[in-house]
Symmetry: C2
Subunit: 97 residues, 2 copies
Amino acid sequence: MKHLIHTLNKAFDHRVRLGVMAVLMANESVSFNDLKDALDLTDGNLASHVAALEKAEYVLVSKQFIGKKPNTTYSATAAGKVAFQQHLETLEKLLRG
Amino acid sequence: MKHLIHTLNKAFDHRVRLGVMAVLMANESVSFNDLKDALDLTDGNLASHVAALEKAEYVLVSKQFIGKKPNTTYSATAAGKVAFQQHLETLEKLLRG
DNA sequence: TGAAGTACTTTGTGATGCAAAGTTGAAGAA
DNA sequence: TTCTTCAACTTTGCATCACAAAGTACTTCA
């Protein structure tokens, strides 16, 4: 028999990725540095987790210039929002009885 | 600044361990085989995850005989219940804004 | 004697996590 | 013009983890 834990999305099975998605659900778009500060992560650590979410097509990366400075912003894709919602629902079911 | 994700308990940062704890919160004690079947895991997989929870002193292991058969049962320790509750509260806070 | 059940442990392989250091390119200071 | 800084990564290196599959030890039942 298949338990709920096997329907949890592996892409979100990590506290950093949970944090990233939570922030991106609450904010339409967030810059690299804001996200880094919000979650208190090192550059490399954030970059690698976001890369994983990008590869899964749950996060969209946009690069542009603000004034003269390069600026990278992240946002959740439609698929990302759906997948995350489902993940949360599964979690909730799992965590009460 | 320290984000909530850093207060999530690493011992529970995995779907299998979430599943084990969820079952042990709902049932005072569960046998190896019942847990294995409930979560649909292989012997080795369950054994290694439970070992991690036992090492953290979140799960208590009791070995006895039922009739003539060896029987191992697991239960959550007091510390385990508290830690898991805290973990869930942190999760909830994290997952709404 | 042999098959089956219980509860692991071991092995092997590959993926993951993380800090720290390195990189690239542009901007502003000295 | 040389130096430093900032942004956003990438690379490196190491340690840990996850998991399947196979092996183990003991016992019981046929």
